[in-house]
Protein backbone atom coordinates (compact mmCIF):
# COMPACT_ATOMS: atom_id res chain seq x y z
CA UNK A 1 0.00 0.00 0.00
CA UNK A 2 1.30 3.41 -0.98
CA UNK A 3 1.71 5.91 1.77
CA UNK A 4 1.55 9.55 0.90
CA UNK A 5 4.69 11.35 1.90
CA UNK A 6 3.15 14.73 2.50
CA UNK A 7 3.24 15.97 6.05
CA UNK A 8 0.06 16.62 7.97
CA UNK A 9 -2.04 19.19 6.22
CA UNK A 10 -1.41 22.70 7.48
CA UNK A 11 -4.00 24.30 9.69
CA UNK A 12 -6.44 26.22 7.53
CA UNK A 13 -5.62 29.84 8.24
CA UNK A 14 -8.80 31.06 6.58
CA UNK A 15 -10.81 29.95 9.58
CA UNK A 16 -10.58 32.74 12.10
CA UNK A 17 -10.40 31.87 15.74
CA UNK A 18 -13.68 32.76 17.33
CA UNK A 19 -13.79 34.76 20.49
CA UNK A 20 -14.34 32.74 23.58
CA UNK A 21 -17.89 31.90 24.48
CA UNK A 22 -19.21 32.54 27.99
CA UNK A 23 -21.03 29.61 29.56
CA UNK A 24 -22.18 28.49 32.96
CA UNK A 25 -21.80 24.94 34.24
CA UNK A 26 -23.08 23.72 37.58
CA UNK A 27 -20.31 21.34 38.54
CA UNK A 28 -20.90 19.21 41.61
CA UNK A 29 -23.49 21.72 42.73
CA UNK A 30 -21.23 24.74 42.34
CA UNK A 31 -21.88 27.27 39.61
CA UNK A 32 -18.85 27.90 37.41
CA UNK A 33 -18.71 30.73 34.87
CA UNK A 34 -16.27 30.01 32.08
CA UNK A 35 -15.17 31.59 28.84
CA UNK A 36 -14.21 28.82 26.47
CA UNK A 37 -13.08 28.36 22.92
CA UNK A 38 -15.73 26.27 21.12
CA UNK A 39 -13.35 23.37 20.59
CA UNK A 40 -12.76 22.89 24.33
CA UNK A 41 -14.11 19.53 25.42
CA UNK A 42 -15.96 19.17 28.68
CA UNK A 43 -13.10 16.94 29.79
CA UNK A 44 -10.49 19.64 29.22
CA UNK A 45 -12.70 22.29 30.80
CA UNK A 46 -13.07 20.18 33.93
CA UNK A 47 -9.42 19.26 34.20
CA UNK A 48 -7.62 22.36 32.96
CA UNK A 49 -9.99 25.18 33.86
CA UNK A 50 -11.72 23.90 36.98
CA UNK A 51 -8.80 21.81 38.23
CA UNK A 52 -11.04 18.80 38.70
CA UNK A 53 -8.44 16.26 37.65
CA UNK A 54 -10.33 13.27 39.01
CA UNK A 55 -11.88 12.82 35.57
CA UNK A 56 -9.26 11.11 33.46
CA UNK A 57 -8.22 11.45 29.84
CA UNK A 58 -7.62 7.96 28.53
CA UNK A 59 -8.05 7.51 24.80
CA UNK A 60 -9.68 10.93 24.20
CA UNK A 61 -11.81 9.28 21.48
CA UNK A 62 -14.78 7.83 23.35
CA UNK A 63 -13.41 4.31 23.33
CA UNK A 64 -12.28 3.77 26.92
CA UNK A 65 -14.74 5.50 29.26
CA UNK A 66 -12.10 6.96 31.60
CA UNK A 67 -13.61 10.41 31.05
CA UNK A 68 -17.16 9.40 32.01
CA UNK A 69 -19.09 12.04 33.96
CA UNK A 70 -22.79 12.64 34.56
CA UNK A 71 -24.39 15.51 32.62
CA UNK A 72 -27.89 16.30 33.85
CA UNK A 73 -27.77 12.91 35.55
CA UNK A 74 -26.83 10.88 32.46
CA UNK A 75 -23.44 9.30 31.91
CA UNK A 76 -21.53 10.60 28.91
CA UNK A 77 -18.00 10.62 27.51
CA UNK A 78 -16.73 14.09 28.43
CA UNK A 79 -13.93 13.79 25.85
CA UNK A 80 -16.46 13.85 22.99
CA UNK A 81 -18.59 16.59 24.55
CA UNK A 82 -17.99 20.20 23.53
CA UNK A 83 -18.33 22.23 26.73
CA UNK A 84 -20.07 25.17 25.02
CA UNK A 85 -22.91 22.86 24.03
CA UNK A 86 -23.60 22.13 27.70
CA UNK A 87 -24.20 25.70 28.80
CA UNK A 88 -26.44 25.56 31.89
CA UNK A 89 -25.99 21.84 32.49
CA UNK A 90 -25.48 20.08 35.81
CA UNK A 91 -22.23 18.12 35.74
CA UNK A 92 -21.28 15.53 38.35
CA UNK A 93 -17.71 14.27 38.47
CA UNK A 94 -16.00 11.79 40.77
CA UNK A 95 -15.21 14.71 43.09
CA UNK A 96 -18.93 15.33 43.56
CA UNK A 97 -20.04 11.87 44.63
CA UNK A 98 -18.96 11.87 48.29
CA UNK A 99 -21.36 13.75 50.56
CA UNK A 100 -20.51 15.38 53.88
CA UNK A 101 -17.23 13.54 54.11
CA UNK A 102 -18.80 10.12 53.56
CA UNK A 103 -17.83 8.12 50.52
CA UNK A 104 -20.50 7.32 47.94
CA UNK A 105 -21.70 3.72 48.22
CA UNK A 106 -19.92 2.92 44.95
CA UNK A 107 -16.63 4.39 46.16
CA UNK A 108 -16.82 2.31 49.33
CA UNK A 109 -17.77 -0.78 47.34
CA UNK A 110 -14.81 -0.35 45.00
CA UNK A 111 -12.53 -0.26 48.06
CA UNK A 112 -14.28 -3.20 49.70
CA UNK A 113 -13.90 -5.34 46.58
CA UNK A 114 -10.45 -4.16 45.49
CA UNK A 115 -12.07 -3.16 42.22
CA UNK A 116 -9.00 -1.51 40.73
CA UNK A 117 -5.30 -1.89 40.38
CA UNK A 118 -3.67 1.17 38.83
CA UNK A 119 -6.83 3.21 39.40
CA UNK A 120 -6.72 5.25 36.21
CA UNK A 121 -10.06 4.01 34.89
CA UNK A 122 -11.70 4.06 38.34
CA UNK A 123 -13.29 7.54 38.35
CA UNK A 124 -14.88 6.75 35.01
CA UNK A 125 -15.96 3.30 36.18
CA UNK A 126 -17.60 4.74 39.30
CA UNK A 127 -19.36 7.59 37.45
CA UNK A 128 -20.51 5.11 34.82
CA UNK A 129 -21.81 2.75 37.50
CA UNK A 130 -23.65 5.65 39.15
CA UNK A 131 -25.29 6.32 35.78
CA UNK A 132 -26.10 2.65 35.34
CA UNK A 133 -27.80 2.44 38.74
CA UNK A 134 -29.81 5.59 38.00
CA UNK A 135 -30.94 4.17 34.65
CA UNK A 136 -32.34 1.10 36.39
CA UNK A 137 -31.92 -1.22 33.40
CA UNK A 138 -29.34 -3.62 34.82
CA UNK A 139 -30.35 -6.42 37.17
CA UNK A 140 -28.36 -9.55 36.33
CA UNK A 141 -24.58 -9.84 36.21
CA UNK A 142 -24.81 -10.18 32.43
CA UNK A 143 -26.74 -6.94 32.20
CA UNK A 144 -24.28 -5.09 34.43
CA UNK A 145 -21.34 -6.36 32.37
CA UNK A 146 -23.02 -5.36 29.12
CA UNK A 147 -24.05 -1.92 30.32
CA UNK A 148 -20.57 -1.28 31.76
CA UNK A 149 -18.84 -2.28 28.50
CA UNK A 150 -18.07 1.34 27.68
CA UNK A 151 -15.52 1.38 30.50
CA UNK A 152 -12.29 -0.42 29.76
CA UNK A 153 -9.98 -1.58 32.57
CA UNK A 154 -6.59 -2.59 31.21
CA UNK A 155 -5.57 -4.02 34.58
CA UNK A 156 -8.48 -6.42 34.15
CA UNK A 157 -10.28 -5.77 37.42
CA UNK A 158 -13.63 -6.57 35.84
CA UNK A 159 -14.78 -9.34 38.23
CA UNK A 160 -14.19 -7.08 41.21
CA UNK A 161 -15.78 -4.08 39.49
CA UNK A 162 -18.85 -6.22 38.89
CA UNK A 163 -18.89 -7.33 42.53
CA UNK A 164 -18.54 -3.74 43.72
CA UNK A 165 -21.44 -2.56 41.56
CA UNK A 166 -23.57 -5.46 42.78
CA UNK A 167 -22.81 -4.46 46.36
CA UNK A 168 -23.78 -0.84 45.70
CA UNK A 169 -26.97 -2.01 44.00
CA UNK A 170 -27.77 -4.10 47.04
CA UNK A 171 -27.77 -7.35 45.08
CA UNK A 172 -24.63 -8.62 46.81
CA UNK A 173 -23.39 -8.17 50.34
Amino acid sequence: MALTTTAARPVDQTVPAQEKIPIVLIVNGVEASLELAPWTTLLDALRDRLNLTGTKKGCDHGQCGACTVLVDGRRVNSCLTLAVMKDGAQVTTIEGLAKDGALHALQQAFIDHDAFQCGYCTPGQICSAAGLIAEGKARSADEIRELMSGNICRCGAYPNILAAIQQAMGTRS
Binding site: M1, A2, L3, T4, A8, R9, V11, D12, T14, V15, P16, A17, Q18, I21, A37, P38, W39, T41, D60, H61, G62, G65, T68, R74, R75, V76, N77, L80, T81, L82, V84, M85, S128, G131, L132, E135, K137, S140, D142, E143, R145, E146, L147, M148, S149, G150, N151
Partner: protein, 338 residues
Amino acid sequence: MINFQYSRAHDVADAVRQIAADPTARFIAGGTNLVDLMKEDVERPSRLIDISRLPLTAVEETPEGGLRIGALVPNSALAYHPLIERRYPLVASAILAGASAQLRNMASTGGNLLQRTRCAYFYDTSTPCNKREPGSGCSAIDGLNRGHAILGTSEACIATHPSDLCVALVALGATVHVAGPGGTRAIAFADFHRLPGDTPQRDTNLAPNELVIAIELPKRGFAENYSYLKIRDRLSYAFALVSVAAALEIEGGKIKEARLALGGVAHKPWRDTAAEAALAGAAAGPAAFATAADVVLRNAKAQAHNAFKIDLARRAIIRTLTQAARGTPQSQSSKKIA
Protein backbone atom coordinates in the same frame (compact mmCIF):
# COMPACT_ATOMS: atom_id res chain seq x y z
CA MET B 1 -8.79 19.73 15.70
CA ILE B 2 -8.83 22.96 13.70
CA ASN B 3 -10.30 26.15 15.08
CA PHE B 4 -13.91 26.71 14.13
CA GLN B 5 -16.84 29.03 14.67
CA TYR B 6 -19.77 27.97 16.81
CA SER B 7 -23.37 29.01 16.66
CA ARG B 8 -26.69 27.72 17.91
CA ALA B 9 -29.70 27.14 15.70
CA HIS B 10 -32.89 28.68 17.07
CA ASP B 11 -35.29 26.55 15.04
CA VAL B 12 -35.22 24.19 12.07
CA ALA B 13 -35.57 27.02 9.54
CA ASP B 14 -32.71 28.89 11.20
CA ALA B 15 -30.55 25.73 11.10
CA VAL B 16 -31.19 25.31 7.37
CA ARG B 17 -30.52 29.02 6.78
CA GLN B 18 -27.23 28.86 8.66
CA ILE B 19 -25.92 25.82 6.80
CA ALA B 20 -26.97 27.28 3.43
CA ALA B 21 -24.92 30.37 4.24
CA ASP B 22 -21.77 28.35 4.96
CA PRO B 23 -21.20 25.21 2.87
CA THR B 24 -18.20 24.19 4.99
CA ALA B 25 -20.25 24.22 8.20
CA ARG B 26 -21.61 21.09 9.86
CA PHE B 27 -24.55 20.44 12.13
CA ILE B 28 -23.70 18.98 15.51
CA ALA B 29 -26.08 17.13 17.81
CA GLY B 30 -24.61 14.31 19.92
CA GLY B 31 -21.17 14.85 18.41
CA THR B 32 -19.98 11.34 19.20
CA ASN B 33 -18.67 10.75 15.68
CA LEU B 34 -18.13 14.29 14.42
CA VAL B 35 -15.98 15.46 17.36
CA ASP B 36 -13.87 12.34 17.04
CA LEU B 37 -13.41 12.90 13.29
CA MET B 38 -12.47 16.50 14.00
CA LYS B 39 -9.85 15.39 16.51
CA GLU B 40 -8.45 13.12 13.80
CA ASP B 41 -8.42 16.00 11.31
CA VAL B 42 -10.71 14.03 8.99
CA GLU B 43 -13.53 16.55 9.38
CA ARG B 44 -12.46 20.19 9.21
CA PRO B 45 -15.63 22.27 9.46
CA SER B 46 -15.41 26.06 9.46
CA ARG B 47 -18.40 26.25 11.76
CA LEU B 48 -20.45 23.98 13.94
CA ILE B 49 -24.15 24.73 14.03
CA ASP B 50 -25.47 23.36 17.31
CA ILE B 51 -28.90 21.81 16.73
CA SER B 52 -28.98 19.96 20.04
CA ARG B 53 -31.53 22.34 21.59
CA LEU B 54 -34.07 22.12 18.76
CA PRO B 55 -37.45 20.64 19.73
CA LEU B 56 -36.99 17.38 17.81
CA THR B 57 -37.20 15.00 20.76
CA ALA B 58 -40.76 13.67 20.54
CA VAL B 59 -41.79 10.09 19.84
CA GLU B 60 -45.35 10.31 18.51
CA GLU B 61 -47.87 7.90 17.03
CA THR B 62 -48.85 8.79 13.47
CA PRO B 63 -52.43 8.82 12.11
CA GLU B 64 -51.38 5.84 9.94
CA GLY B 65 -50.59 3.78 13.01
CA GLY B 66 -46.83 4.18 12.80
CA LEU B 67 -44.38 6.10 14.95
CA ARG B 68 -42.59 9.36 14.25
CA ILE B 69 -39.28 9.70 16.08
CA GLY B 70 -37.71 13.13 16.43
CA ALA B 71 -34.19 13.31 15.05
CA LEU B 72 -32.79 14.40 18.41
CA VAL B 73 -34.18 11.54 20.48
CA PRO B 74 -31.07 10.02 22.09
CA ASN B 75 -30.31 6.43 21.10
CA SER B 76 -30.77 5.27 24.71
CA ALA B 77 -34.13 7.03 25.09
CA LEU B 78 -35.30 5.40 21.86
CA ALA B 79 -34.14 1.92 22.85
CA TYR B 80 -35.99 2.11 26.16
CA HIS B 81 -39.08 3.94 24.91
CA PRO B 82 -42.16 1.87 25.88
CA LEU B 83 -43.65 2.01 22.36
CA ILE B 84 -40.36 0.94 20.79
CA GLU B 85 -39.89 -1.87 23.29
CA ARG B 86 -43.42 -3.14 22.78
CA ARG B 87 -44.11 -2.55 19.08
CA TYR B 88 -40.64 -2.34 17.49
CA PRO B 89 -38.37 -4.54 19.62
CA LEU B 90 -36.12 -5.08 16.58
CA VAL B 91 -35.22 -1.38 16.76
CA ALA B 92 -34.57 -1.55 20.51
CA SER B 93 -32.42 -4.65 20.13
CA ALA B 94 -30.34 -3.18 17.30
CA ILE B 95 -29.66 0.01 19.26
CA LEU B 96 -28.60 -1.92 22.35
CA ALA B 97 -26.23 -4.02 20.23
CA GLY B 98 -24.26 -0.89 19.34
CA ALA B 99 -21.82 1.45 21.05
CA SER B 100 -21.77 1.87 24.85
CA ALA B 101 -24.28 3.19 27.36
CA GLN B 102 -22.45 6.53 27.44
CA LEU B 103 -22.41 6.91 23.66
CA ARG B 104 -26.06 5.88 23.37
CA ASN B 105 -26.93 8.60 25.89
CA MET B 106 -25.19 11.18 23.71
CA ALA B 107 -25.89 10.03 20.16
CA SER B 108 -29.04 11.23 18.41
CA THR B 109 -31.35 9.22 16.16
CA GLY B 110 -30.60 11.43 13.15
CA GLY B 111 -26.89 11.42 13.85
CA ASN B 112 -26.85 7.64 13.97
CA LEU B 113 -27.84 7.64 10.31
CA LEU B 114 -25.09 10.10 9.44
CA GLN B 115 -22.18 8.48 11.26
CA ARG B 116 -19.30 7.71 8.96
CA THR B 117 -17.39 4.53 8.27
CA ARG B 118 -14.80 3.37 10.80
CA CYS B 119 -12.46 2.20 8.00
CA ALA B 120 -8.98 2.77 9.47
CA TYR B 121 -7.76 4.34 6.23
CA PHE B 122 -10.61 6.85 6.24
CA TYR B 123 -9.40 7.87 9.71
CA ASP B 124 -5.70 7.92 8.80
CA THR B 125 -5.03 11.20 6.99
CA SER B 126 -1.54 10.01 5.96
CA THR B 127 -3.03 7.40 3.61
CA PRO B 128 -5.05 7.77 0.40
CA CYS B 129 -8.82 7.41 0.78
CA ASN B 130 -11.41 8.18 -1.89
CA LYS B 131 -14.05 8.84 0.72
CA ARG B 132 -11.93 11.41 2.54
CA GLU B 133 -10.09 12.78 -0.49
CA PRO B 134 -11.88 11.91 -3.74
CA GLY B 135 -9.51 10.62 -6.40
CA SER B 136 -6.66 9.82 -4.01
CA GLY B 137 -7.22 6.05 -4.16
CA CYS B 138 -8.43 3.32 -1.81
CA SER B 139 -5.85 2.06 0.66
CA ALA B 140 -8.10 -0.71 1.93
CA ILE B 141 -8.37 -2.61 -1.37
CA ASP B 142 -4.66 -3.48 -1.23
CA GLY B 143 -4.38 -3.05 2.51
CA LEU B 144 -5.80 -4.60 5.65
CA ASN B 145 -9.42 -5.29 4.72
CA ARG B 146 -10.56 -7.97 7.15
CA GLY B 147 -13.52 -5.89 8.30
CA HIS B 148 -14.49 -4.44 4.96
CA ALA B 149 -17.48 -4.87 2.68
CA ILE B 150 -18.42 -7.98 0.72
CA LEU B 151 -21.52 -6.60 -1.02
CA GLY B 152 -22.01 -3.59 -3.28
CA THR B 153 -18.35 -2.56 -3.30
CA SER B 154 -16.67 -0.56 -6.04
CA GLU B 155 -13.14 -0.04 -7.31
CA ALA B 156 -13.17 3.22 -5.37
CA CYS B 157 -14.28 2.08 -1.91
CA ILE B 158 -14.92 -1.04 0.15
CA ALA B 159 -15.92 0.69 3.39
CA THR B 160 -18.87 -0.45 5.51
CA HIS B 161 -21.61 1.55 7.18
CA PRO B 162 -21.17 1.09 10.93
CA SER B 163 -24.71 1.57 12.28
CA ASP B 164 -26.78 -1.13 13.95
CA LEU B 165 -29.94 0.97 14.27
CA CYS B 166 -29.99 1.56 10.51
CA VAL B 167 -30.08 -2.17 9.80
CA ALA B 168 -33.31 -2.46 11.77
CA LEU B 169 -34.75 0.70 10.21
CA VAL B 170 -34.12 -0.43 6.64
CA ALA B 171 -35.60 -3.84 7.41
CA LEU B 172 -38.78 -2.28 8.76
CA GLY B 173 -39.11 0.12 5.83
CA ALA B 174 -38.72 3.36 7.75
CA THR B 175 -38.88 6.83 6.20
CA VAL B 176 -36.45 9.69 6.77
CA HIS B 177 -37.98 13.16 7.00
CA VAL B 178 -35.65 16.02 6.13
CA ALA B 179 -35.95 19.80 6.00
CA GLY B 180 -34.23 21.98 3.44
CA PRO B 181 -34.50 25.49 1.98
CA GLY B 182 -37.55 24.47 -0.08
CA GLY B 183 -39.41 22.79 2.78
CA THR B 184 -39.54 19.19 3.88
CA ARG B 185 -39.33 15.93 1.96
CA ALA B 186 -39.45 12.24 2.79
CA ILE B 187 -36.80 9.71 1.74
CA ALA B 188 -37.42 5.97 1.87
CA PHE B 189 -34.83 4.47 4.21
CA ALA B 190 -33.47 2.13 1.54
CA ASP B 191 -32.76 5.18 -0.65
CA PHE B 192 -31.16 7.27 2.10
CA HIS B 193 -27.70 5.69 2.13
CA ARG B 194 -25.69 5.17 -1.05
CA LEU B 195 -23.42 2.55 -2.50
CA PRO B 196 -19.89 3.86 -3.07
CA GLY B 197 -19.77 3.71 -6.88
CA ASP B 198 -17.31 6.35 -8.02
CA THR B 199 -18.50 8.89 -5.42
CA PRO B 200 -17.71 7.25 -2.08
CA GLN B 201 -17.33 10.70 -0.53
CA ARG B 202 -21.14 10.82 -0.47
CA ASP B 203 -22.54 8.49 2.17
CA THR B 204 -26.17 9.52 1.76
CA ASN B 205 -28.61 11.27 -0.56
CA LEU B 206 -29.13 14.03 1.99
CA ALA B 207 -28.26 17.36 0.38
CA PRO B 208 -25.59 19.42 2.16
CA ASN B 209 -28.19 22.03 3.11
CA GLU B 210 -30.73 19.55 4.48
CA LEU B 211 -31.37 18.54 8.07
CA VAL B 212 -32.80 15.21 9.22
CA ILE B 213 -35.80 16.09 11.38
CA ALA B 214 -37.52 12.75 12.01
CA ILE B 215 -37.61 9.03 11.30
CA GLU B 216 -40.98 7.45 10.69
CA LEU B 217 -41.70 3.81 11.34
CA PRO B 218 -44.58 2.18 9.48
CA LYS B 219 -47.36 0.45 11.38
CA ARG B 220 -45.92 -3.05 11.24
CA GLY B 221 -43.20 -3.75 13.77
CA PHE B 222 -42.98 -7.57 13.53
CA ALA B 223 -42.84 -7.71 17.32
CA GLU B 224 -43.69 -11.43 17.47
CA ASN B 225 -41.00 -12.88 15.21
CA TYR B 226 -37.81 -10.87 14.98
CA SER B 227 -34.13 -11.03 15.92
CA TYR B 228 -31.02 -8.88 15.65
CA LEU B 229 -27.81 -10.86 15.75
CA LYS B 230 -24.47 -9.06 15.75
CA ILE B 231 -21.20 -10.92 15.31
CA ARG B 232 -18.05 -9.02 16.29
CA ASP B 233 -14.52 -9.53 17.54
CA ARG B 234 -15.46 -9.00 21.19
CA LEU B 235 -18.73 -9.53 22.98
CA SER B 236 -19.66 -5.91 23.40
CA TYR B 237 -18.76 -2.41 22.31
CA ALA B 238 -17.34 -3.30 18.89
CA PHE B 239 -18.50 -2.78 15.35
CA ALA B 240 -20.11 -5.63 13.48
CA LEU B 241 -18.22 -8.04 11.31
CA VAL B 242 -21.66 -9.16 10.25
CA SER B 243 -25.04 -8.30 11.72
CA VAL B 244 -28.46 -9.47 10.65
CA ALA B 245 -31.93 -8.07 11.25
CA ALA B 246 -34.70 -10.53 10.54
CA ALA B 247 -38.45 -10.09 10.89
CA LEU B 248 -41.09 -12.60 9.91
CA GLU B 249 -44.83 -12.89 9.78
CA ILE B 250 -45.69 -16.55 10.09
CA GLU B 251 -49.07 -18.18 9.57
CA GLY B 252 -49.54 -21.90 10.08
CA GLY B 253 -45.83 -22.59 9.86
CA LYS B 254 -45.51 -20.71 6.56
CA ILE B 255 -43.82 -17.39 6.08
CA LYS B 256 -46.34 -14.79 4.99
CA GLU B 257 -43.87 -11.94 4.88
CA ALA B 258 -40.16 -11.60 5.59
CA ARG B 259 -37.76 -8.74 6.19
CA LEU B 260 -34.02 -9.31 6.00
CA ALA B 261 -31.19 -6.80 6.26
CA LEU B 262 -27.48 -6.98 7.05
CA GLY B 263 -24.98 -4.67 8.68
CA GLY B 264 -21.20 -4.64 8.51
CA VAL B 265 -21.15 -6.01 4.97
CA ALA B 266 -21.74 -3.01 2.71
CA HIS B 267 -21.47 0.75 2.28
CA LYS B 268 -25.11 0.99 3.34
CA PRO B 269 -27.45 -1.01 5.56
CA TRP B 270 -28.11 -3.90 3.18
CA ARG B 271 -31.70 -4.98 2.75
CA ASP B 272 -32.35 -7.71 0.20
CA THR B 273 -35.92 -7.76 -1.09
CA ALA B 274 -35.16 -10.67 -3.44
CA ALA B 275 -34.26 -12.80 -0.43
CA GLU B 276 -37.42 -11.62 1.30
CA ALA B 277 -39.44 -12.66 -1.75
CA ALA B 278 -37.75 -16.06 -1.72
CA LEU B 279 -38.83 -16.52 1.91
CA ALA B 280 -42.43 -15.49 1.34
CA GLY B 281 -44.70 -18.51 1.05
CA ALA B 282 -42.05 -20.98 2.18
CA ALA B 283 -42.16 -23.15 5.27
CA ALA B 284 -40.33 -21.38 8.11
CA GLY B 285 -37.39 -23.74 8.34
CA PRO B 286 -33.74 -24.38 7.50
CA ALA B 287 -34.25 -25.02 3.78
CA ALA B 288 -35.89 -21.66 3.15
CA PHE B 289 -33.40 -19.88 5.39
CA ALA B 290 -30.43 -21.38 3.52
CA THR B 291 -31.98 -20.34 0.21
CA ALA B 292 -32.44 -16.80 1.51
CA ALA B 293 -28.78 -16.71 2.55
CA ASP B 294 -27.77 -17.88 -0.94
CA VAL B 295 -29.81 -15.10 -2.49
CA VAL B 296 -28.34 -12.40 -0.22
CA LEU B 297 -24.80 -13.56 -0.92
CA ARG B 298 -25.20 -14.35 -4.62
CA ASN B 299 -22.97 -11.42 -5.62
CA ALA B 300 -20.71 -11.35 -2.56
CA LYS B 301 -17.11 -10.55 -3.36
CA ALA B 302 -14.25 -11.10 -0.94
CA GLN B 303 -11.11 -9.02 -0.56
CA ALA B 304 -7.77 -10.51 0.49
CA HIS B 305 -8.66 -10.79 4.21
CA ASN B 306 -12.43 -10.92 4.52
CA ALA B 307 -13.55 -14.05 2.67
CA PHE B 308 -14.56 -15.47 6.05
CA LYS B 309 -17.30 -12.85 6.23
CA ILE B 310 -19.22 -14.52 3.39
CA ASP B 311 -19.44 -17.77 5.31
CA LEU B 312 -20.09 -15.90 8.55
CA ALA B 313 -22.90 -13.95 6.91
CA ARG B 314 -24.45 -17.13 5.57
CA ARG B 315 -24.52 -18.73 9.01
CA ALA B 316 -25.65 -15.53 10.72
CA ILE B 317 -28.57 -15.13 8.28
CA ILE B 318 -29.73 -18.70 8.90
CA ARG B 319 -29.31 -18.37 12.65
CA THR B 320 -31.10 -15.03 12.86
CA LEU B 321 -34.03 -16.26 10.75
CA THR B 322 -34.22 -19.32 13.00
CA GLN B 323 -34.29 -17.13 16.11
CA ALA B 324 -37.00 -14.97 14.54
CA ALA B 325 -39.11 -17.94 13.49
CA ARG B 326 -38.90 -19.49 16.96
CA GLY B 327 -39.78 -16.24 18.67
CA THR B 328 -36.51 -16.38 20.61
CA PRO B 329 -34.72 -13.16 19.63
CA GLN B 330 -31.03 -12.72 20.35
CA SER B 331 -30.43 -11.23 23.82
CA GLN B 332 -28.06 -8.27 23.79
CA SER B 333 -27.07 -8.96 27.43
CA SER B 334 -26.54 -12.68 27.62
CA LYS B 335 -24.23 -13.29 24.70
CA LYS B 336 -25.22 -16.89 24.25
CA ILE B 337 -26.38 -17.42 20.66
CA ALA B 338 -29.40 -19.68 20.99
